[in-house]
């Protein structure tokens, strides 16, 4: 009987311990639903990333309107870009492009060990007029063989794609070809494994303007890209111009009377398609920009990898208007932005 007394005490003791544990827990967890309405509101406003990207050399806002290193001060610019007049009104455009490994911030606090052209992803935009001579002094400062492969006309020696055309680390190469045809194009590294070299960040926009200039417009360059940060061949971050939700937090300002022209290029790896959708508006779509006749008048387009378009539109009303992938999954993973239309 003594033993069962002991057991009874032990049981009581266990009970006491558990009750103390639970009471302790009471303090830790805030019970029930206080200010439910407020929470619901907060929950539905909670999409997107937390925080801001740090200040770095690359600024998604200036990238939008930056070509041929136009955003650098003149003395800096001359290190990377030089124009020389040729006969017949043509220009020789010389570029100094180098590859370098660099950690870039693709969402606030999320860093990606990228391979870059001139330390930025996407690489610098190269823009010329039809018939101009493009000369690129290419230096590989990375630790893998890299190339520059342009979409457009050029002789095979300038293709930067065959294994013998790979530029070894530390080596240089001179790419030279005529700007042709008119349109919005792209360049990227064609070293192998190709998926890796592209996905790591070696790509940029290449624009060839027609000899007869287009109507003046507010022009923006948008590279639709994505990043697989955990090597599962699925992208964790989608973006326009690298930083997730950047233009959502910093809307692109345009005026009501402006004609807006967007050069949109899709380079996202792993997914078969990407898309571009504009709110409260319709745009003329010039596929690949090779013709002056629009292919369609719509508000959503689908783009496979390396597919690109020039979009032209005007806003009817002032205010904030989203643009995003109507592959909604991508939009919630960062590919979402907004225009702010000023009256």
């Amino acid at each position: 009987m003594l033993r069962s007394d002991v057991l009874r005490k032990a049981l009581l003791f266990t009970f006491a311990v558990v009750i103390v544990m639970i009471l302790h827990h009471f303090k830790e967890e805030v019970a029930a639903c206080e200010n439910c309405k407020e929470k619901e509101k907060k929950a539905h406003m909670g999409f997107g990333t937390v925080g801001e990207v740090g200040h770095q050399d690359y600024n998604p806002m200036t990238y939008l309107t930056d070509w041929n290193f136009s955003h650098l001060p003149t003395d800096q610019r001359s290190k990377f870009y030089k124009e020389t007049k040729l006969s017949g009104g043509r220009l020789l455009r010389e570029y100094w492009i180098y590859t370098v490994n660099k950690e870039i911030e693709i969402a606030p606090g999320v860093f990606f060990p990228a391979w870059t052209y001139n330390g930025q992803v996407p690489g610098p935009t190269i823009r010329a007029t039809e018939g101009d001579l493009i000369r690129i002094h290419f230096l590989n400062q990375g630790d893998k063989p890299h190339t520059m492969h342009f979409h457009g006309f050029h002789p095979d020696s300038m293709d930067g794609a065959m294994p013998h055309q790979f530029v070894a680390p530390g080596d240089t190469f001179l790419y030279e070809f005529e700007a042709d045809p008119v349109g919005v194009h792209l360049y990227h590294c064609h070293s192998v494994p190709l998926t890796q070299h592209i996905h790591k960040g070696l790509y940029g926009v290449y624009i060839v303007d027609p000899k007869i200039p287009k109507k003046p417009a507010k022009e923006f360059i948008m590279m639709l890209n994505a990043f697989d940060t955990n090597f599962d061949e699925e992208n964790e971050v989608y973006a326009v111009n690298t930083v997730a939700f950047y233009y959502m937090k910093n809307p692109i300002k345009v005026n009501l009377e402006d004609l807006v022209r967007v050069y949109v290029v899709n380079i996202a790896e792993f997914d078969p398609i990407n898309s571009f959708h504009l709110h409260a508006n319709f745009f003329y779509e010039f596929r690949t920009g090779t013709s002056s006749t629009p292919n369609s008048y719509t508000d959503t387009i689908i783009l496979g990898q390396a597919e690109r378009s020039i979009l032209e539109f005007k806003f009817k009303f002032p205010g904030q208007y989203m643009f995003h992938a109507h592959k909604t999954e991508f939009s919630e993973l960062g590919w979402m932005g907004a225009f702010e239309v000023l009256p």
Partner: protein, 417 residues
């Protein structure tokens, strides 16, 4: 002490030490003994200091990226709000940069900081409009882009420890733990009338039931180790719990049986019944933890059928308790106490599991439960084998044992989640 003294003297040759020995042989030998005890430790600390000062060499020097591991310990769902308890169980600090819910970036707050030091714990609060009954997927994205996933199979508001949940979990514990055990106890009068041979049969059946239960506990403990953060070494916890239970209970029962020799056979049987009750009680605590935990994280919805299944499954536990005392008789008070010992821990288990489920505690309790049950199995077999060891393997006993396993197997169909 003498022994060491001699050994060390043989080995020592330094003049200085010999002089010291002459001066104060007893003190010196003590000093030497402790010196020898601590010498390797002192050298080890020196080595660590040198290693840290000069830095790692060779293979360690490679600039490897940090290894990031984060384990999501617990997910608490409240309307429009998901709270995660996380622990960094990797070797390096981890910074949680962003959080995704169902493949969408979502705003979150993290305490105490977004950076978790090694073994650091944090709480992440996400305001997210989750949907009742949906599968909700959560992904944490580190500074270096590594992802840590967690899944809520069936989203439902997490129980918070208020009176309603306490009482409903208690009721659940009563249903699956207390009632079935007491129902099983009601077989005592029928067992009492059995002839010796059939009594032995029922003891063997009890052993069968218990072995099934023990292995079940052990397997569940092993499975649960997978869910616990690696750094806690679930397997180590399992072994500690298992062997502590077996050995401590064995030592106790040995002491008890020595003490009970003058008190006679029936007292011994009573003790055996109590130890079965305690063993089953600990097992039920582990079972309760599992049920409460699974319910809390939305892994199971406790349908009426499942609760019914547990009831049927656990009736067998009552039989196991009363079999040893079938011939000895016990007072009603004692029987009630046994029933409470075996059944009540289920309630405690569901409470703890429901409100503060942690895989590693589950492992510990399941392992202790398994150990306790195996210890009881040994005790009963020892008791059965008392006349002679060979009697253990009579056909009656073998069939009894196998029937015990079979009963558990069949009733187990009701509780397969």
């Amino acid at each position: 002490m003498r022994f060491y003294h001699k050994t060390f003297r043989k080995n020592m040759s330094s003049n200085l030490e010999q002089v010291q020995n002459i001066n104060n042989p007893e003190a010196t030998s003590k000093l030497r003994f402790w010196g020898n005890v601590f010498l390797p430790l002192i050298l080890l600390s020196l080595l660590i200091i040198v290693f840290l000062a000069i830095g790692p060499l060779g293979v360690f020097k490679a600039a490897l990226p940090p290894i990031e591991e984060v384990s999501i310990q617990r997910i608490i769902l409240q309307p429009n709000e998901i709270t995660l308890k996380v622990v960094n169980d990797g070797p390096d600090p981890v910074t949680i940069a962003q959080v995704l819910v169902n493949e969408s970036y979502w705003k979150f707050e993290m305490e105490p900081s977004q950076t978790l030091p090694r073994l650091g714990r944090g709480t992440i609060k996400i305001y997210y409009p989750w949907v009742e009954g949906n599968l909700e997927k959560i992904k944490l994205l580190s500074r270096n882009g590594i992802t840590f996933d967690a899944e809520i199979p069936v989203a439902t508001t997490s129980p918070s420890p208020n009176l309603q949940y306490l009482s409903s979990f208690a009721l659940l514990g009563v249903y699956v733990g207390v009632i079935p055990v007491f129902l099983g106890l009601l077989w005592l009068p029928s067992l009492r009338r059995l002839k010796e041979k059939w009594y032995s049969f029922f003891l063997a059946l009890t052993v069968g039931l218990l072995v099934f239960l023990g292995i079940e506990s052990l397997v569940e403990a092993i499975e649960t180790t997978e869910k616990a953060p690696a750094v806690y070494q679930g397997m180590g916890v399992l072994m500690l719990g298992f062997f502590i239970a077996i050995l401590v209970l064995s030592a106790f029962s040995r002491k008890g049986s020595l003490a009970s020799q003058e008190k006679g056979e029936s007292y011994r049987k009573l003790m055996l019944a109590y130890s079965v009750a305690i063993g089953i009680g600990i097992h039920n605590l582990g079972e309760g933890l599992a049920i409460g935990g699974a319910y809390a994280v939305g892994e199971i919805s406790l349908g009426a059928l499942l609760v019914l299944g547990f009831m049927i499954h656990n009736v067998t536990e009552g039989v196991a308790i009363v079999a040893p005392i079938a011939k000895a008789g016990a007072r009603l008070k004692q029987l009630v106490l046994m029933g409470l010992l075996a059944g009540v821990p289920t309630i405690l288990g569901t409470w703890i599991g429901g409100f503060t489920y942690s895989a590693i505690w589950s492992v510990l309790f399941l392992a202790i439960g398994a150990g306790a049950i195996f210890q009881v199995v040994f005790s009963i077999m020892q008791y059965m084998a008392k006349p002679n060891l060979g009697s253990l393997f009579s056909f009656t006993n073998v069939w009894g044992f196998l029937l015990g396993l079979a009963v558990m197997y069949v009733t187990g169909f009701f509780v397969t989640i």
